[in-house]
């Protein structure tokens, strides 16, 4: 099962913990009066969070010409919603983000091949397990006679997705074998095929999907010794949602009794897996890439626009001087700029999405734009400040001597010249943002990187999607820099 408790999550949890008082009252009131079931039924919608990069559990596929999230977990979610008498809404995000999203109310439940470990039980409530999996090791077919199970890799290297159960098992339960961790399954397969590693430990259904779609691969049983809970998948709800969990357990019982996963859900998912992988040409996925470009551009353009406005305000605030109020303003804006420039954008994005999410429920795209605008604003402020300082003081004096106020002087005389001076830096910022906007993929915004990851896990092709987005990014940045140069030259003529 996937068990990524990455560094990112730790950071975000730490940030979210700054809001502990509020968070606690939430949980307490939830426990005091458990109206979780009633609440969902009143709302009429059940929001399921999942990380669709894990076929056949959940993955993106083209259904009737449209990209959709499918997989056995989605069918389980549909059954759960149906039995509750509500509609299902599937929200996709990175696996790392799921738990926080559940705790902060962004989603109502997690079905994402998640196994109910004791650590997770401390934070969320699990239903009974709906599926019992196991582990395989995927190897190159040519090595089929060489390897039998986990113990055959002495002196070699095993790969596994970082932070997962199988990663820990590979580390702890093998001898003389080094373990290489990577974030993405498709990267691991790629490493296997280029003989950088000798085998990839993964869950049985995934292994079977890879082998079925790639004739050069084969699967052998891993033979890890595991408590059965470590190979189980269960549905997670917010801590203390007893009435809801009890109700959903009835659905789980039914699914197990009728063996729906094996009989219905896996075959159905496998069908998409097939139609999905029959055509793994990148052209087949042009729509996915187009969506990626669209979102990348939306994020970049919006963030540049708002970042610019924030930047101007910050730059002016940083130059305020005089009375106490102005000094305070200067101090705050300086602190803000230093703080933003001193923390990773990735953490800022997660903070806005999850941290502010406690107070207002912002969609991922909006959160991403807010975070990147706030970040960009800090950098733009520094450029603008430099630009303003580069304008000769005589310009200000001439304007003031004509009776113009401080504000009018800034607006009509100094800023236009400052902006002209820093145009190249602002252009660079724009181009940087085209690239850096990729960070919002972690909160599930479907920009280029996110889309390429989806395509990679769909097609089981590691390199091709990377090449495609590399070219796409380059086309975007190159076009942008041409356009900016054009305007720069035009301004120079003035």
């Amino acid at each position: 099962m996937k068990k990524k408790i990455g560094l990112l999550l730790v950071i975000v949890v730490a940030l979210v913990l700054t809001f502990v008082p509020l968070g606690q009252t939430n949980t307490q009131s939830a426990q005091a009066a458990d109206n979780s079931l009633e609440k969902i039924q009143k709302k009429g919608v059940l929001v399921m969070g999942t990380s669709p990069d894990y076929p056949p559990y959940e993955f993106q596929a083209t259904v009737n010409g449209k990209s959709a999230i499918v997989g056995m977990d989605v069918y389980i979610g549909q059954q759960v919603a149906k039995d509750l008498g509500v509609k299902l809404k599937v929200k996709s995000m990175s696996f790392d983000s799921l738990l926080v999203a559940l705790q902060t109310g962004k989603i109502d439940m997690i079905i994402s091949g998640m196994n109910p470990t004791p650590a997770r039980r401390k934070n969320v409530s699990f239903t009974k397990a709906y599926y019992q999996g196991g582990y395989d090791i995927v190897i190159n077919k040519t090595d089929k006679n060489k390897y039998k199970n986990k113990d055959s890799f002495g002196g070699g290297t095993l790969g596994a997705q970082t932070g997962t159960t199988q990663y820990n098992a590979a580390k702890n339960q093998t001898k003389n074998t080094s373990v290489k961790g990577m974030t993405s399954q498709s990267d691991l397969i790629l490493a296997l095929q280029s003989h950088k590693i000798d085998g990839v430990a993964m869950e049985k259904p995934s292994a079977e999907a890879y082998v079925a779609n790639n004739k050069q691969l084969a699967a052998i049983p891993a033979g890890f010794s595991m408590s059965s809970s470590a190979t189980k998948s269960a549905i997670a709800f917010r801590k203390g949602s007893t009435s809801l969990v009890n109700k959903v357990n009835k659905t789980v019982d039914k699914i197990k009794k009728e063996n729906l996963v094996k009989k219905e859900y896996l075959p159905k998912a496998g069908k998409y897996l097939k139609t999905n992988t029959v055509n793994t040409s990148m052209f087949h996925y042009w729509k996915a890439f187009l969506t990626g470009i669209e979102y990348t551009l939306i994020i970049t353009v919006c963030s540049v626009f708002f970042g610019f406005i924030i930047g101007i305000l910050l730059a002016l605030a940083r130059m305020a001087k005089g009375n106490i109020f102005k000094n305070l303003l200067r101090w705050i804006s300086t602190a803000y700029v230093e703080f933003i420039r001193g923390t990773p954008m990735m953490v800022q994005v997660m903070f806005v999405y999850f941290g502010l999410g406690i107070f207002v429920n912002l969609p991922a795209l909006t959160s991403g734009i807010i975070a990147i605008s706030l970040n960009s604003g800090a950098y733009v402020a520094e450029y603008i400040r430099g630009g303003i300082n580069s304008v000769n003081i005589g310009q200000t004096e001439a304007a003031r001597s004509l009776g113009m106020s401080n504000g009018e002087t800034m607006r009509y005389v100094v800023l236009p010249q400052a902006l002209k001076n820093i145009w190249p830096s602002l252009g660079n910022e724009f181009i940087t943002l085209i690239k850096d906007s990729s960070i919002v993929s972690i909160i599930g915004v479907t920009e280029l990187i996110y889309q390429s990851n989806i395509v990679r896990s769909d097609t089981y092709r590691g390199v091709a999607p990377i090449v495609v987005i590399m070219v796409l990014y380059f086309i975007l940045t190159f076009t942008a820099s041409r356009i900016l140069n054009h305007f720069e030259r035009k301004m120079q003529h003035d």
Binding site: A398, S401, G403, M404, Q417, D494
Partner: protein, 246 residues
């Protein structure tokens, strides 16, 4: 008697320990052309900039038409500055605007004159300084003399009551000094009240009504040009005059 346009009393200005202006009390009457001369570093620029509060006096009063600028709020100061045009040694034209736009900016943004009126007035002023054919040129394409004439037109566009000049010809090539001084002379003839810091002694003699000789933070002498140049009273002035060739 009419009241003075500018009245300075006990004006002092220091930059830290540098006491640039020590104690200055003088008046400028309507229509007068005051020429301020003196050794470099003597505080002439500081003084003329105190007149429109580009420099904030450390103490003393600067009154314009009877109103003490040092006691006014920023808004009122802005308002009074409209009536005091200033021309700088370095022209300080706005490089991102055409000549015409340079002149129209303040009337339109500060006085809210409409575009047509501002344009018409700007062309009139450009004709007056002989540069109407350069209306659409950018400042970088102008010679120094032309740029300074535009700067004068720009200041005049606000219809000031007094014009302040801080070494308007010092940055010019010698052959361009004349064209700027001519315009200043015409202005003076038309009755404009002017305070001019300059090293052009010919101009001082022929156009100035009073010479203020400034050194060491004081106005050392205040006299007519004839008296001052023929019979300087202080050693400081004598020394200064002996050093400049006339």
């Amino acid at each position: 008697m009419t009241k003075p346009v500018i009245e300075v009393s006990a004006l002092a200005k220091s930059f830290g320990d540098n006491h640039v202006l020590k104690d200055i009390t003088e008046k400028v009457e309507p229509g007068q052309v005051i020429v301020v001369i003196g050794p470099s570093g003597g505080g002439k620029s500081t003084f003329i900039r105190c007149l429109n509060l580009l420099e904030t006096p450390t103490s003393g009063k600067v009154a314009f038409e009877g109103q003490d600028l040092t006691t006014l709020d920023q808004k009122s100061v802005n308002k009074l500055r409209e009536k005091m045009g200033m021309v700088f040694q370095g022209f300080n034209l706005f490089p991102n605007m055409t000549v015409l736009e340079n002149i129209k900016l303040a009337p339109m943004k500060v006085k809210h004159v409409d575009d047509a009126t501002a344009t018409k007035r700007a062309h009139e002023l450009l004709q007056r300084v002989g540069l109407d054919d350069h209306a659409d040129a950018f400042p970088t394409s102008l010679s120094g003399g032309q740029a300074q004439r535009v700067a004068i037109a720009r200041a005049l566009a606000m219809d000031p009551k007094v014009m302040l000049f801080d070494e308007p010809t010092s940055a010019l090539d010698p052959e361009m000094v004349g064209e700027v001084l001519n315009i200043m002379q015409e202005l003076a003839k038309e009755g404009m009240t002017m305070v001019v810091v300059t090293h052009e002694m010919g101009f001082a003699k022929s156009v100035g009504d009073r010479i203020w000789f400034m050194a060491d933070g004081y106005i050392q002498e205040n006299n007519t040009p004839e008296q001052f140049f023929a019979h300087p009273e202080t050693d400081r002035a004598k020394d200064f005059l002996s050093k400049i060739l006339m």
